[in-house]
Symmetry: C2
């Protein structure tokens, strides 16, 4: 099974390097970045590529650029948005930050019940139909990884039915980080995605418009993965007491 070669433009490489330096604390919040001309030279790239990277850092609220003044490093905990989550999920050395992953799992568990509730209130017949199809696919899926994939689609259907753009965008953000490490979370979520009956219950409640039932069913289902994750973290112990 071959994987597509991932490419990185110079601007991307510069962005990643500066981002990691900021997130790791090597560049302290409140301090100033060297001037673009100096940075350009240190990094060995042209100023245009550097500026593209700086613009992205500004967009992510990791730095604050002022025309005529210095470029200031910001505290990412204070200012950065959800877009940073997928970057923080994996450390520069490639390992997954368990602490961050736990946070994602918890957030997922907090949002999912309300998504199911709203889907029950606002979903139409096309939603019901899609859920039915995906339940069939879920039953037929072989292997935890494929089950995870179908479950992801199942939730996408509910998110769309909830008619809530904030949920849709949050779903996209979480998914972005999730798919990259889906295989690592397989043991954590195997229990959850294997319980097709629970998904069936949610789909039934949504189809019937029973919002509270949908809420409760979703909450019960997600609690499994969350519990497994918490237990796993307790077992592994403290290998992540430092930043971030």
């Amino acid at each position: 099974m071959l994987k597509p070669i991932e490419r990185r433009s110079l601007a991307d490489a510069v962005y990643e390097q500066l981002r990691d330096a900021i997130v790791s604390g090597d560049l302290e919040p409140g301090s100033s970045l060297p001037s673009e001309r100096q940075l350009r030279e240190q990094l060995g790239v042209n100023r245009g590529a550097l500026r593209e990277a700086l613009k992205r850092l500004e967009e992510a609220r990791l730095v604050r650029i002022r025309h005529g003044g210095a470029t200031e490093v910001l505290d990412f905990r204070e200012h950065a948005g959800t877009s940073l989550l997928e970057d923080l999920l994996v450390a520069p050395d490639g390992s997954v930050r368990t602490r961050v992953a736990r946070g994602v799992i918890e957030m997922r568990a907090a949002l999912a019940p309300d998504i199911a509730r709203l889907a029950a209130l606002r979903g139409g017949p096309d939603c019901t139909e899609r859920l039915a199809e995906q339940l069939v696919a879920l039953r037929e899926a072989d292997g935890v990884l494929n089950q995870q994939r179908v479950a992801l689609e199942f939730w996408a259907t509910l998110v769309d039915a909830s008619d809530n753009l904030a949920y849709r965008l949050a779903y996209n953000s979480l998914r972005e980080g999730y798919v990259r490490f889906m295989h690592l979370l397989s043991p954590v979520l195997a229990d959850e995605v294997g319980d097709v009956d629970a998904y069936q219950s949610i789909a039934d409640a949504v189809a019937a418009g029973e919002s509270e039932a949908a809420y409760d069913q979703a909450k019960a289902l997600l609690a499994r993965g969350t519990g497994t994750m918490t237990a796993l973290m307790d077992a592994v112990g403290r290998q992540q007491t430092e930043t971030p």
Copy 2:
């Protein structure tokens, strides 16, 4: 009361224009953008500024750039992350999109109880202390707007205590859009931020480590704003049936 003059670089202006064109559907998903040389000429800017804007669009997952190939417009509903939320909250003409605002209010209500719950489980004495200070400030605050501001800080304390980076980043993202239109939401949230006793109850539960109580109290408090928002949308009716 004077306001600071907001500046826009060329790259920012280009970004906003292209973003609005994509979000509004003028640039259809799947279609290709003109080449950088053509766009540069149409917009009357240099290629560097245009490329900085395109890089940001790519970061926001509104377009997909391929070296040697065309730049493709993506479906923002399918790919964009939470960072787009603050942009979508306000239409190009400056009005607030009620539908999007409702989504934000709902998401807030879904996250807050779990944040309070985790804060109760993981918060330390410094959290308790800060909450006490903020409660004093909340009682002393005059005007709904100031109450909203203090309440925002109150929640920031809880978010930090929850020791969940995903929540912190989501909080930052939501806050970004919220503060810009805080005054418009004053009537919606006046009831909520005025009930200092409810905040007191949450703080007490968190200080005592009673996670379920904190959860319930937060849920009850947030339900007010959510209910008002829903009622408001029903009253105003359908002026937002179209995109997005």
